[in-house]
């Protein structure tokens, strides 16, 4: 098994210590940091995402896999900076005002980071103005918002309106999700994309930003 396969496998089996050791070995073998990330870490997390989507694994397993992923990124990150590899995009992430649930949002954040995005997590119960401020400050490519319960659906719609009114929409894509959101509702309120779960959030975000 190649060292990149080992990295991928360590993510799939949630073994953070093996991820770290294999990433260090890959660097010692002069494998480019970008390959370690794309062909090892991200490849592993993609398998995890597919299994999660298919209800083969659950939240604890995804948290363990993303933990392994972050351990590996910790090894590779200093060299990634040197090699001038850019993030796939910058994402502002948060639950809308009135929604205090955070585990779904956290999963989306970890999966997006794992897929190479720079994620700015503005937290739970986020007023629209805070989203606007973060989009401006970080020159975001993508706004990802979620709400779990139906009584905060209107807050999702409001947030999109406020972002539109702030003139930030050109160059910005918006993706929404969470237990209360449907694809039809997402389209109705002017979102560019809808993600049913954390795994879909990655594929939809990539699609919206034109990333293969």
């Amino acid at each position: 098994m190649s060292v990149l396969e080992e990295i991928k496998n360590s993510i799939i089996t949630y073994k953070a210590n093996l991820t770290k050791e294999a990433c260090e070995r890959a660097l010692a073998e002069n494998i480019p940091p970008g390959d370690i990330v794309n062909l090892g870490l991200i490849a592993g997390l993609e398998v995890v995402g597919q299994k999660f989507k298919a209800n083969k694994i659950f939240v604890p397993e995804v948290l363990m896999a993303t933990k392994a992923m972050h351990t590996g990124l910790g090894v590779v990150k200093p060299l990634l900076a040197q090699s001038d590899i850019q993030p796939a995009g910058t994402v502002i992430l948060g639950t809308v005002k009135g929604d205090l649930h955070d585990i779904g949002k956290n999963l989306v954040g970890m999966m997006l980071e794992g897929a190479g995005f720079k994620v700015i997590d503005v937290g739970i119960n986020t007023p629209p103005e805070k989203f606007v401020e973060a989009i401006r400050e970080h020159k975001a490519d993508l706004l990802a918002m979620s709400c779990l319960i139906t009584n905060t659906l209107s807050a999702l719609e409001t947030a999109i309106k406020v972002v539109d009114e702030a003139g930030l929409r050109p160059g910005l894509k918006i993706i929404v999700g969470g237990g209360a959101v449907t694809e039809q509702f997402a389209a109705k309120i002017g979102s560019d994309g809808y993600a049913k779960d954390a795994s879909s959030a990655v594929s939809v975000s990539k699609e919206l930003l034109g990333i293969a």
Partner: protein, 346 residues
């Protein structure tokens, strides 16, 4: 031969009350029993005006000495901050205790804690005025409470630190047992704080977060604690959010289980095969209640009735219906449940 209609109910989320009728269910609702009784009277009248033809509400309701504290009592006892909103259920912010704080964690004296003492004062007040108490205090549930104490790190602990996971689950269970012992002795009413669909004397535990874990994790970590609850205060029931398919094998091993409430998209046929004697309450998705047509809702209900029988062990509800839920969907849900089940049993 006349058929028998199954039990069916619709319940509304606080925002439905707030936006339709200006009713506030924030801090005062949970801290002031007189205000809560007054709100309940208004709710019954409004329901009667709007849905009286569906047997909802009462034209001239009597005051109901209701005790209610959302799902936040035990988290508050452990020190969680509770956020109250006029149009939402109260929410306890997780404590996210560290490894060391969990290892040092002791079972609190629930009954003498300030939050419980405040509720006992409320109960005393209602008892002295009305001679009885209705409603109950939601016991939070083993994993739900453990997550409030430990945060999402509990899920990592399941893999990396089983001892620590068991510590927080065990402390949570002991706290739940204290609360249940008090309520059992004081009122004998245990279910309504979790679900209106179970017989009041059934000790129903809310498993709102169990859909996030596998059956293997459930059986490894949660099952033993739920059996402690079930053996201490039978008969036992479970409220499960979301599809119950993944953990149904584990639920079948819970002792003294007489009631199981499951969320949308649960395979009721398989569940029934595993648990032929358990009463199943199947829930209609509040998101579909909000977005679908009456015909689609009627179809959902017929499907539950077709797959969840025998009908003497099945009920259906749609709780958490939000502002904007069409009245026609409420009507479709209740009428279909009643008429279709009657037709099937006649």
């Amino acid at each position: 031969m006349t058929g028998r209609a199954i039990d069916a109910k619709v319940g509304f989320y606080p925002s439905w009350w707030n936006k339709n009728y200006g009713i506030c269910m924030g801090r005062e609702y949970f801290h002031n029993p007189a205000y809560r009784v007054e709100v309940n009277l208004k709710q019954q009248k409004y329901l009667y005006e709007r849905f009286g033809h569906l047997d909802m509400g009462r034209a001239n309701p009597a005051p109901e000495p209701l005790i209610d504290y959302g799902m936040v009592l035990l988290p508050e006892v452990f020190g969680c901050e509770v956020v109250f909103e006029d149009d939402a259920l109260p929410w306890a912010m997780p404590l996210n205790l560290s490894d060391q704080e969990i290892m040092d964690l002791e079972v609190p004296d629930v009954i003498n804690s300030p939050p419980m003492q405040r509720l006992i004062t409320q109960m005393d007040c209602l008892q002295s005025k009305y001679g009885r108490i209705s409603g109950s205090i939601n016991p939070t549930g083993v994993q739900n409470l453990a997550l409030k104490i430990r945060g999402d790190q509990l899920y990592i602990d399941y893999f990396e630190n089983p001892e620590l996971a068991h510590k927080v689950l065990s402390v949570s269970t002991q706290a739940i047992l204290q609360l249940t012992a008090y309520m059992k002795k004081r009122t004998g009413i245990l279910a309504p704080g979790v679900t209106p669909m179970a017989r009041p004397e059934i000790f129903v535990t809310p498993n709102c977060t169990v859909f996030q874990i596998s059956n293997e994790t459930f059986e490894t970590y949660i099952l033993q604690y739920e059996n402690m609850l079930a053996e201490a205060y039978p008969p036992f029931g479970i409220h499960h959010c979301g599809s119950g398919d993944e953990v149904s094998q584990g639920y079948a091993k819970v002792k003294n289980l007489v009631f199981l409430e499951v969320g949308p998209n649960t395979d009721l046929v398989s569940l029934r095969q595993l648990m032929p004697e358990v009463h199943i309450n199947a829930r209609v998705d509040p998101v579909r209640m909000l977005n679908c047509t009456p015909e689609e809702i009627a179809g959902d209900v017929r499907h539950l009735i077709d797959t969840g029988g025998p009908l003497d062990k099945l009920s259906i509800d749609a709780v958490g219906c939000d502002y904007g839920t069409p009245d026609q969907n409420v009507e479709a849900m209740l009428k279909t449940a009643r008429e279709y089940s009657m037709a099937k049993t006649s």
